[in-house]
Symmetry: C2
Subunit: 192 residues, 2 copies
């Protein structure tokens, strides 16, 4: 009698220090319908990283072949390495009614939105740049110039927030998770 | 530190038999930020009804004066009596960050949307007309022709569902309430 649930693509961005990894890990523990996408990359595996789980490790030729064939939902270069999100497994999971979560930065998110307009863009946010700075300092693992650079990137990225649909404040992990779960429920109730 | 919550106007419609009253009563019990609007009407009070609580009971002249002055978010005539939703208390409650809930039928909902485009229109639904008929029969309080008429009205109203933003399936009161609560959280996270 019950219709199967609608598949969704959530694209979650947020500055370094927003607590995104913690929140998304918790969300994945809470739900049994979440599909986390495995990115492809040309960089060499670090010790302990497994091919197909942490990343699909591919050579540059293979990556560019996939890129030219339009097989990536989004891609980017960081520190001379290429990273991309393969489209096929994502679209397949959506069709199966899964909640696909992509944890990517703003430029990647905008690429996804262009390729897949139904994508739901969510920005995880600390409430203010002052609070972001406090959290980065609390971590205490970064030199001043690295911290400054992270804040600059955050300010730059924040300008694109108008392209996002939702802003989730992460004052507290439980509450941020509750907001993400609420967004999933609400999006599934949307009349399209 | 925490920003105050954003006020919302939820307009909830649903056919007779959808369980709307039960769901909205439960929602009101669950939340302390809900504001239920009191309608104005020209009909005479029934025994036990209190002026200002169940309705604002007004004479036809007073009602028409308010109507002409544009003081109603929506209005309608039923069985020769006029009913209207006063705009001022609703807008005031929204400004105070409350969740205002209007329990009105489809035509009224569309009037509200025209006057206040930020209104969030939600249709409470049984999943199918067959299920709606089953529920109406289970109540067993109505003659066949009244039941037929209710189903006809439901089918007619359902044509306007494209004007609604959300459809909440009411298979189970708790779950429907959870969906409404999720919609409230998600709407407050929307970037506008």
């Amino acid at each position: 009698m019950r219709m199967s649930e609608r598949g969704l693509l959530l694209v979650v961005s947020g500055p370094s220090g927003s607590g995104k990894t913690t929140v998304l890990t918790r969300l994945m523990q809470d739900r049994d319908d979440v599909f986390f996408s495995v990115s492809s990359t040309t960089r060499t595996p670090r010790p302990g990283e497994r091919d197909g789980t942490d990343y699909n490790f591919v050579c540059a030729e293979k990556f560019e072949e996939e890129l030219d064939a339009g097989h990536f939902l989004e891609w980017a270069e960081f520190a001379g390495n290429l990273y991309g999100t393969p489209a096929a497994p994502v679209l397949e999971a959506i069709n199966l009614g899964k909640v696909v979560i992509l944890d990517i930065e703003v430029r990647g998110a905008l690429q996804v939105k262009e390729k897949y307009p139904d994508a739901v863009l969510i920005y995880l946010w600390t409430g203010s740049f002052e609070e972001l700075e406090r959290r980065l300092r609390r971590r205490g693992t970064e030199r001043e110039e690295v911290l400054r650079r992270r804040l600059e990137i955050a300010m730059e990225e924040y300008k694109a927030i108008g392209e996002y649909k939702y802003k989730v404040l992460n004052y507290e992990v439980e509450e941020a998770c509750r907001a993400l779960n609420s967004i999933i429920v609400a999006e599934r109730c949307l009349i399209k």
